[in-house]
């Protein structure tokens, strides 16, 4: 039964991956843009899911890290750097800033931490807007080149989509590995009960900082891809509402579930597009849908699935118990 389920899951995963590769071939420019955006936002949301879902540290600053990554990548690639090198700088910059932002988390928790990161988010926006010598100010940075990867030009939307999808695959594998490593278990210990984690010898200080730094670094990766995706960046997309959107993606998808960010980003990026036929009402409907979902299942979409599976498992287990009990009775 469990082996069957594993094959089934593997097959479903392969079908989804194949669909992500094959279906968009005939998509138009805009469709590919939206799908690429989904991939990029999923990466950012995965970072936040590490910080919030696994390590339990509330952050309202993930959008700012996407901004840091986007600006680093935009500034360097317009100077003639290749994208991979610029991405590395994006990652390092957001990792370092994320590490620093982790220090307040050592002092305060929960809503207070949310407020500190919210303030940081606004500060970052002001820097993007005002330091025009570096960021181009409100005029932003235009003509951001798309890279050549192994000799392939990604100027056209389809190759660039594959670049985003490939990056998403690499990030997913890395995160998959990370949450199964001792680090992931330490993160979860931090979330469940920091005091107990500490008494069991988990260096909570280091892991809190790491949870912030790694989560932010993934935000940087997303930003580093976002800049060549739109080919023009200005401060507006990286204001507080992006951070709130990313947080919403993580919660709606299911915080602390590996596939939560994929679903959450799908809802946040694709659902408004699907609702576009309703014209001016689509964002309203989106907001209502999010509220209804959260009322129904505060642990997000995957929370529903999780409860359903847990229910079935308990039912199956109690059926097994009943069977073995009746057997015992017949033996007696």
């Amino acid at each position: 039964m469990s082996a069957n389920a594993r094959y089934l899951r593997l097959a479903a995963g392969l079908v989804v991956i194949a669909a992500l590769i094959v279906t968009p071939v005939n998509f138009n420019r805009y469709g590919l843009f939206i799908l690429s955006q989904w991939a990029v936002m999923t990466i950012a949301a995965m970072g936040l899911n590490l910080t919030l879902g696994y390590a339990g540290q509330v952050s309202l600053a993930q959008g700012a890290f996407v901004g840091v990554g986007a600006y680093a990548s935009a500034i360097l690639t317009t100077q003639g750097w290749p994208l991979p090198a610029a991405l590395l700088v994006s990652i390092l910059a957001s990792f370092a800033i994320g590490w620093l932002l982790g220090y307040p988390a050592l002092r305060v928790q929960h809503h207070y931490l949310a407020f500190v990161t919210l303030a940081f988010s606004t500060l970052a926006f002001l820097v993007f807007r005002n330091e025009s010598w570096l960021t181009g100010g409100i005029y932003g940075i235009s003509n951001i080149p798309r890279p050549h990867i192994f000799g392939f030009a990604t100027n056209k939307p389809l190759p660039f989509y594959y670049l985003c999808l490939g990056s998403l695959a690499i990030v997913s594998l890395a995160v998959w590995w990370l949450i199964r490593s001792p680090w992931g278990r330490a993160f979860m210990a931090l979330r469940e009960n920091p005091l107990r984690a500490q008494s069991l010898g988990v260096d909570t200080r280091r892991y809190t900082l790491m949870a912030f730094a790694i989560g932010s670094a993934l935000g940087g990766v997303a930003g580093g891809l976002y800049a060549p995706l739109t080919q023009y960046i200005d401060p507006v997309p990286f204001n507080l509402s992006l951070s709130l959107d990313l947080l919403m993606m993580v919660i709606v998808g299911g915080a602390g579930f590996f596939f939560g960010p994929f679903l959450g980003a799908m809802i946040a990026v694709l659902l408004p597009e699907w609702l576009r036929f309703t014209q001016g009402y689509y964002l309203m409907l989106y907001a209502v849908a999010v509220i209804l979902l959260l009322i129904w299942s505060p642990t997000g979409i995957l929370g529903i699935l999780d409860r359903f599976l847990a229910n079935r498992r308990t039912k199956a287990a109690s059926a097994l118990r009943a069977v073995s009990k009746s057997r015992l009775e017949t033996v007696q």
Partner: protein
């Protein structure tokens, strides 16, 4: 020197409005652990309700009453019944996220059903200038300040001097014990939601003539009130008042003396410093940690 005086007056006027909004914010937190990310939009909406009433032909005074009543129904009663009550038992974060979604929905609804453009809004206080002690003072700033302070003082008196206020405080501080000694806790919680609705409607009435009625005007205001509430003390009404005034003055002074570009940064940095070194806020009590 006269410049500083003007800045202080203008700062106190906006600060008093921030205080109104921040007080409502802390009331919701105290009685029902609701971090209302839509509080800024709550201030934006009543102005549009009043404008809609005026478009329907109501005179200004009637429109104000209709606006306040409608916001009590929508932002008080409906908000509590439809959103907070079903979500409260799920904890702080999902509820906070739901209010974020609510903020998006409210902005879009106003944009769609009313207008994406800024609309002018009549002022309830005179808008001319008068001379006080040799300074030209905007009567509007003064009027806004006086009205907001009166509202806050009235509310504080209600909370501290009346039996009803004591019952509300009891319901906020320890619902279980309050229930045992016979306080109708549910009704008290509903009352705080209604009071919040009146406070945001009042703030809307005072601030909209200055900044115009626009669907997005809640963003800045909500954030300022948010900061005011935290800086002053998240769990104290008087903290929210002090925080509001402080942030209003700080905002105006930093625009003049620091830089217009980074004026928004000063309250933020102040916020970070306060949270790191006095997380319970300047006037707040510390919350106990449990294992």
């Amino acid at each position: 020197m006269s410049n500083l005086f003007d800045l202080l007056i203008a700062g106190l006027a906006t600060g008093a409005i921030y205080a109104l909004v921040a007080v409502g914010f802390t009331l919701l937190w105290q009685t029902s652990q609701t971090i209302n990310f839509a509080q800024g939009e709550f201030v934006m909406l009543p102005a549009f309700l009043m404008l809609a009433a005026m478009h329907a032909g109501a005179p200004f005074w009637l429109a104000i009453i209709i606006g306040i009543l409608l916001s009590m129904i929508l932002l008080g009663l409906a908000f509590k019944m439809l959103l907070v009550d079903p979500m409260l038992r799920h904890g702080v974060l999902p509820l906070a996220i739901a209010t974020m979604a609510l903020a998006i929905g409210m902005k879009e609804a106003v944009k769609q059903f009313f207008s994406a453009e800024a609309s002018p809004f009549p002022s309830i206080v005179p808008t001319n200038d008068i001379a006080v002690l040799g300074h030209v003072v905007s009567l509007q700033s003064l009027g806004v300040f006086v009205v907001a302070i009166l509202a806050v003082v009235g509310l504080t008196a209600l909370l501290n001097r009346t039996s009803l206020g004591h019952q509300m405080q009891a319901a906020a501080q320890n619902p279980t014990v309050a229930r045992i000694i016979g306080v109708p806790v549910e009704r008290m919680i509903l009352l705080t939601f209604l009071i919040n609705a009146v406070l945001v409607a009042l703030a809307s009435l005072l601030i909209t003539p200055i900044y115009l009625a626009k669907f997005s005007s809640g963003e800045v205001l909500g954030q300022a009130a948010f900061i005011a509430a935290i800086v002053g003390g998240f769990n104290q009404v008087r903290g929210a008042i002090a925080g509001g005034l402080l942030i209003g003055v700080l905002d105006n002074l930093s625009a003049a003396y620091v830089s217009t570009q980074y004026r928004a940064a000063v309250p933020m940095i102040f916020l970070i410093v306060v949270i790191l070194f006095r997380p319970q806020g300047l006037l707040g009590r510390s919350e106990e940690r449990t294992v």
